[in-house]
């Protein structure tokens, strides 16, 4: 699987970043970092959440100006103080958070800033579309130039991002966590694309938290911890454990430790559930599912097969067309979120900033989001401030939320700590059923370990856990049973111990059992 460094031209240093330091106020995000990348190389950047990877790349792309240090491109010193300069130097970047204008078409997004023109400064859309078609064929990145970005899948959007860079003639391509939101299939395709690009002589800098991908795609890997460069290693000479311990500074276990499940009563029972998606098409087509106490049921599937709708219907955010959802034998379908929560369901939502938190609330206010009416937190409509703060402090301690300050706005926390707040709250609700959707997206290995432990803890307490994830590895290592969802139906359920990747992959693609 490991790449062979076949395309690397060691005589040709494309990017040299020397002693880069970047301070945000008093905070040092990058501390004296060196980075050298050769032509045709895939160079991975690895580090915990907040280690400073994106910052370093934003500097290379001219979005941030370094506090100190020098950059050489093709051996020449370059002052890159805005993206235009980066683009002119052949640098392209695919950002961690997509930089696409949703209502614009694919072609419009790609040409934006470098538009082909007609008279009267008109945009020549015909030429734009032709140009896009041409480069998309050249690199095998097929897209529909006329489709609106908001209507296409995340994987497609990823391609649009890459095409954007290529359209600008990028020779050096920075990919910041490109796989965080992709399905396994899409990830495979992306790695293929990366290989093709290096064959064309392009240079890739790849940021990812997934060690497996580094092993598969990268030639070299630079590890950053707390803003400092720890080391640069030849990927073929290291294994995942070494990478991980360099990154966090301690040993990390990948194996999820858990005992066998002790199955209890059925806690969630779904029968013949039908629901429409936002476009009015049926996303759930008569889905049946059962979750028992004491198990983690993983839902495996490619994004867009009804996972979001399933969770939304269970939690009451979406109305079902028909069917039944029972919790502990009680029908809850099409009631309201409050009633459903009170019936014993907790939910770790997919989009933590949109659904999970009120970013402008303090940590303690967020900790009581569904429970503010409980006796402990309010009396006759009056909030009991000191109880609330005390509760928040308990959770902050127990779940190791950092910094330990209940009065801080949730906005001020890092992504990983935001996720901890949500988990702390949902788990402490002591639900009969805990739903977790993509609970580790974008988190580093340390944080992932924590999340997985929390889920298993719930299971061991005799709760049912419903885990929805697009990452097959996660599903396979954490779940007890795995249900595969395809086109709004469960197409098969297997015991995790008997599951293998190929079989699941086949089922996820609609193939037989």
């Amino acid at each position: 699987m490991t790449t062979t460094k076949a395309n690397v031209d060691f005589s040709h240093k494309v990017v040299e970043m020397k002693s880069i330091t970047k301070k945000f106020g008093d905070f040092i995000a990058n501390d004296n970092i060196d980075l050298t990348v050769h032509r045709g190389e895939v160079h991975a950047l690895l580090g915990e959440n907040g280690a400073g990877k994106s910052t370093l790349m934003n500097i290379l792309y001219g979005l941030y100006t370094p506090t100190d240090g020098k950059i050489f491109i093709e051996g020449k010193e370059a002052v890159i103080d805005n993206p235009n300069k980066a683009i002119a130097l052949g640098i392209g970047m695919v950002h961690q958070h997509f930089m696409l204008v949703p209502p614009f078409t694919v072609a419009e997004n790609i040409i934006l800033g470098m538009e082909p023109m007609k008279t009267f400064k008109q945009v020549d859309m015909d030429k734009a579309i032709a140009d896009v078609k041409a480069i998309s064929e050249k690199y095998g990145l097929y897209v529909d130039p006329k489709a609106r970005v908001m209507d296409i899948t995340v994987g497609m959007q990823q391609r649009v991002e890459i095409l954007k860079a290529l359209y600008r003639g990028a020779e050096i391509l920075i990919l910041d966590e490109p796989t965080a939101v992709l399905t396994p299939q899409e990830i495979k395709e992306l790695i293929e694309i990366i290989r093709n690009l290096t064959k064309e002589g392009k240079t890739i800098i790849l940021i990812t938290h997934k060690l497996k991908e580094i092993k598969e795609a990268a030639d070299y890997c630079t590890i950053i911890r707390r803003g400092k460069r720890i080391d640069t290693v030849d990927v073929s000479q290291t294994d995942e454990n070494q990478l991980a311990s360099m990154m966090v500074g301690r040993e990390v276990t990948f194996k999820v430790d858990k005992n066998d499940a002790i199955y209890g009563d059925t806690v969630l029972k779904i029968e013949d559930l039908k629901a429409k998606d936002n476009r009015g098409l049926f996303a759930l087509n008569g889905l049946d599912l059962e979750v028992r106490r004491g198990e983690i049921l993983g839902i495996a599937g490619v994004d867009g097969n009804g996972q979001s709708e399933l969770v939304e219907v269970i939690t009451g955010l979406k109305k079902a067309e028909s069917g039944s959802v029972m919790i502990n034998g009680k029908e809850i379908v099409n009631t309201n979120p409050r009633n459903i929560m009170d019936s014993g369901i907790s939910n770790i939502p997919e989009d933590r900033q949109k659904h999970g938190l009120v970013l402008d609330f303090t940590v303690s206010e967020n900790m009581i989001l569904q429970n503010y009416k409980k006796e402990r937190f309010s009396k006759n409509g009056k909030l009991l401030d000191s109880n609330i703060r005390q509760f928040a402090d308990e959770l902050i301690n127990k779940f190791d939320v950092r910094p330990q300050n209940n009065a801080l706005k949730a906005r001020a926390l890092s992504g990983g700590n935001q996720q901890k707040v949500i988990i702390a709250r949902e788990v402490t609700n002591d639900p009969d059923l805990l739903i977790a959707t993509q609970p580790t997206r974008g988190l580093d290995v340390g944080a992932i370990e924590f999340v997985h432990k929390s889920l298993i803890e719930q299971r061991d307490k005799g709760k049912g856990v419903l885990l929805v994830s697009f990452e097959l590895d996660e599903i396979m290592s954490v779940s007890d049973r795995i249900a595969v969802i395809y086109e709004g139906k469960i197409v098969g359920i297997v015991d995790a111990k008997d599951a293998n990747e190929n079989q699941l992959g086949l089922m996820m693609a609609g193939g037989g059992k």
């Binding site: 934003n58 930089m99 800033g113």
Partner: protein, 314 residues
């Protein structure tokens, strides 16, 4: 039949009269908000435009110079709004409200200084008002009643076409919309977000200034403190109503103008509806609400509308 045509003609001409300032000003709103800057200050910018327009006309006797002066004045106050909300990260709503206190205050203050304590500018003679290019060219009757109107009305419609062209056909328009939807994306592609926003906000002030001048130089011939009274807010509403699009803003302005025409029409003794004129006066506002409920519904503006954009922040 004849009286029906007359009524219709009058209704149309009143519609055009009322719509003109709204079209200009709501177009201003379209530019500003498509670039992501909320402009509650349109009312103030209109007021200063109306005042400067009338004043320049009094001193120069040249309506076009007056009109341009009004645009410049509106643009200057928009520049204030831009400086605060783009360069200094001000809350755009607050900055706009500040403009709504400043601009009318300065207009009236200056009027008193220039015109011997009067809050009203002297009346401009007919031949120094905005020209009516079709005056005398049309046979009297329907055509004359409807189309023998001020150049500003025609200009307003021309501006709608230009605005549509700029926003949806040109490079600049693409960039405006990109900046309003996702400024950071635009920034990463080397588009100068602040520059685009400055241009759009200033443009919005210029257009609002034109809107004000189209009142003080065409509909009437003086500035007075109550001249604008709320039109800027109506234009803001028209822009939202028109879903942030030039053609939508125009249609909403026309609807509003038409509803106002209807009030005049229904109030005429010839119609003989015996309803309190106070109730009649509610019509435009109620019609707007009903149209919103039954035909328009939810309207979402540009995604980044109202958000501060700081380079190098996330």
């Amino acid at each position: 039949m004849d009286s029906v045509m007359t009524s219709l003609a009058i209704l149309l001409s009143t519609t055009l009269m009322y719509s003109t300032p709204l079209i200009f000003t709501s177009l201003g709103g379209v530019f500003s908000e498509n670039s992501g800057v909320v402009n509650i200050g349109l009312e103030g910018m209109m007021t200063i435009g109306a005042f400067v327009g009338a004043t320049v006309a009094v001193f120069t006797g040249n309506p076009w110079m007056a009109f341009i002066g009004a645009g410049v004045a509106g643009g200057l106050f928009a520049l204030l709004h831009a400086i605060a909300s783009i360069s200094f990260n001000a809350n755009q709503v607050i900055s706009g409200i500040a403009i709504n206190f400043l601009a009318p205050g300065i207009a009236i203050f200056m009027s008193k200084m220039l015109f011997d304590g009067s809050t009203m500018t002297p009346s401009i003679p007919l031949d120094q008002k905005m020209p009516r290019y079709l005056n005398g060219l049309l046979p009297s009757g329907f055509l004359d009643t409807v189309f023998n109107t001020y150049a500003t009305t025609y200009l307003a419609f021309i501006f709608v076409a230009i605005a549509w062209f700029v926003l949806y056909k040109t490079r600049f328009g693409l960039r405006i919309r990109a900046v309003g939807e996702h400024p950071r994306a635009a920034d990463t592609l080397g588009i100068n977000v602040h520059k685009v926003r400055y241009i759009c906000v200033i443009l919005s002030g210029v257009l609002a200034g034109f809107g004000g001048a189209s009142m003080s130089l065409a509909i009437v011939s003086t500035f007075r403190p109550t001249l604008v009274s709320g039109q800027g807010f109506i234009a803001l509403a028209a822009m939202i109503f028109g879903k942030w699009k030039p053609q939508g803003a125009m249609l909403a302005s026309l609807l509003f103008g038409f509803a106002n025409g209807l009030v005049v029409f229904l109030g005429s003794p010839a119609i003989g509806i015996n309803i309190s004129e106070h109730l009649l006066s509610m019509i435009p506002y109620l019609i707007t609400l009903f149209v919103l409920i039954f035909f328009v519904g939810q309207a979402n503006g540009p995604a980044a509308n109202g958000e501060i954009y700081e380079k190098g922040e996330r």
